[in-house]
C-alpha cells in the first residue's frame, strides 16, 4: 500500500505547481486507481479537484478536456459524440466498470503514458494537444515520446474537424486490458491510424495511413494493413505473442477503416 504524509487541496494552479516542486516526493493526485496499488511513500498528495478542471468545453476550433475529467464523463458526453463520433466513448467503455470510470481521470491516464492505454490510443487518432503548466502546449505524439517531467497536465485540446472515426480492440476477457487497440480516423482524405498496447505505448502508423485514399478499395485497405505491420514494432507479453499481435493488427485496422468508410 502506498503512503502519504500530507494531503493538500490546491487553490490555484500556481499553488499546485509550487507544492509539486517543494519536495521530490510530492505528487499530483488523479483517480488514485493505479497509485493505490503501488508501495511508494509520497510526501504530499496534491488534489486538483477544486480548480474547475473536470469539464469538457467547446471552443470555436477545439474541444478542451480538463485533466480532472473522469472517464465516465468521456463515455457519456454529447459534445464528444457530436464532434468525434463514438471513438472516445468506445475506447473508455471497456475499462473495468462504471465505478472505476467515475474515478479515473483523463489527466492521470495521459500523463502516466500507460502502454496499455485505450485512452491514449484514441486521442492519438484525433490531433490532440497536451497543455502542460510548465512545458507549454505539445502535440500528444511529442509528449508521448518525451521523458517524464515533473509538471502538471492541465488539459487536452482536440481539434474540431469533420472527423469520421472508429475504435477497435481485442480483449481476452471483458473489462481486461486490451491485447491490442486501434483507433482509426479520417478527415477529408487524411487518415490517422493509431495502435496501442502493442504492448508498448500507442503510436501512429503514418506510412500506412498515407497509403489510404479518401475511399479505399479492398486491395488498398489490405496494402495499408500490411504496411502497419511493416512499419510498427510489436512485442509479446502474458496477453499475446508478437506474431498474434501482428495478425490482430491487420484485422483491427481493416475493421476500423471499413467502419469509417461505411
Amino acid at each position: 500500500m502506498f503512503g502519504l504524509k500530507e494531503y493538500r487541496v490546491a487553490q490555484s494552479l500556481d499553488q499546485a505547481d509550487q507544492l509539486l516542486h517543494e519536495h521530490k516526493n510530492n505528487v499530483i493526485l488523479g483517480g488514485l486507481l493505479w497509485m493505490r496499488m503501488g508501495r511508494k511513500n509520497y510526501h504530499t498528495g496534491i488534489d486538483l479537484s477544486q480548480l474547475g478542471l473536470d469539464r469538457i468545453l467547446e471552443t470555436e476550433e477545439a474541444i478542451e478536456i480538463g485533466c480532472m475529467t473522469r472517464l465516465r464523463q468521456i463515455e457519456t458526453s454529447g459534445i464528444l459524440d457530436a464532434c468525434f463520433g463514438r471513438v472516445l466513448a468506445d475506447a473508455v467503455s471497456h475499462i473495468v466498470g462504471v465505478q472505476f470510470r467515475n474515478a479515473a481521470t483523463m489527466g492521470g491516464s495521459v500523463f502516466s503514458r500507460f502502454s496499455f492505454s485505450d485512452v491514449v490510443t484514441a486521442l492519438l487518432a484525433l490531433e490532440t494537444h497536451v497543455h502542460l503548466y510548465r512545458g507549454g502546449i505539445l502535440p500528444l505524439e511529442t509528449f508521448l515520446e518525451s521523458s517524464p517531467q515533473r509538471d502538471i497536465l492541465v488539459k487536452l485540446s482536440l481539434k474540431k474537424k469533420a472527423w469520421k472515426t472508429s475504435y477497435q480492440s481485442h480483449r481476452m476477457t471483458a473489462t481486461d486490458f486490451p491485447v491490442l487497440a486501434a483507433a482509426i480516423s479520417c478527415c477529408e482524405d487524411r487518415w490517422r491510424i493509431s495502435l496501442g498496447a502493442r504492448p508498448s505505448r500507442a503510436k501512429l502508423a503514418t506510412k500506412a495511413a498515407a497509403l489510404l485514399p479518401k475511399k479505399p478499395d479492398a486491395a488498398q485497405i489490405a496494402a495499408a494493413c500490411d504496411q502497419v505491420v511493416e512499419e510498427m514494432s510489436f512485442g509479446g507479453n502474458q496477453r499475446g505473442t508478437r506474431e498474434y499481435r501482428e495478425i490482430l493488427a491487420k484485422v483491427l485496422v481493416k475493421r476500423g477503416v471499413e467502419a469509417v468508410c461505411r
Partner: protein, 156 residues
C-alpha cells in the same frame, strides 16, 4: 488532519491520516457492509455513492470526501431490502460477500438509466464481480425488479 462529511444523512467530523482510504474510514465507523474483494480496484465490492455517484471506496482517499455526501447500503436500507428479495427469489444471493456493492451499483443504475436493455445492464454492472454464480440469476432478478418498479411484475 480533520475532515467533515455526511454519511447516510448524518454529519461526521473525524481526525484521519492523509493516506487513509475511504473503505477503511467507513468500516472503522461501523459501516461493515463494505467489503474489499481484490487488491486491484476491479471487484466492485466496496461500491459506495459519493454525492450520488457510484465509486470504489478502496481507491479514494478519505481526505477527498471533505464536505461531500457518502451513501452506503445502510443508507438505502429499504430499497436494498426490496431488491434483495428479488435476488433471493432467483437464488442469486449465494455467499453474499459481493451483494452490498452489487446492490449499490444496481440502485445507482436504476437512478441513471431509463429502461435499460440487457446489454446496458451488463455493461453498467461489468465492474461488479461474483465468484459464486454465473450472473444469470442476478440478470433475472434485475429484470423482474425493474419491471416491478414500473408496476408490471412481482418478485415471485
Amino acid at each position: 488532519m480533520q475532515i467533515s462529511c455526511d454519511i447516510n444523512g448524518k454529519a461526521y467530523t473525524r481526525h484521519i491520516e492523509p493516506d487513509l482510504v475511504l473503505i477503511d474510514f467507513l468500516r472503522d465507523l461501523g459501516f461493515l457492509s463494505l467489503k474489499q474483494g481484490c487488491d486491484t480496484t476491479n471487484c466492485g465490492l466496496c461500491t459506495v455513492w459519493v454525492d450520488g455517484t457510484p465509486r470504489l471506496s478502496c481507491a479514494m482517499l478519505a481526505a477527498g470526501i471533505q464536505g461531500r455526501q457518502i451513501t452506503t447500503i445502510e443508507g438505502v436500507e429499504k430499497e436494498a431490502a426490496a431488491f434483495g428479495q428479488f435476488l433471493a427469489a432467483q437464488g442469486a444471493d449465494q455467499c453474499g460477500f459481493c451483494s452490498p456493492g452489487f446492490i449499490m451499483n444496481v440502485l445507482a443504475m436504476e437512478r441513471e438509466l431509463t429502461d435499460p436493455s440487457d446489454d446496458q445492464i451488463k455493461h453498467y454492472l461489468a465492474g461488479n464481480l461474483c465468484r459464486c454464480t454465473g450472473y444469470a440469476g442476478q440478470m433475472r432478478a434485475i429484470t423482474l425488479y425493474l419491471g416491478a418498479r414500473k408496476g408490471e411484475l412481482s418478485c415471485e
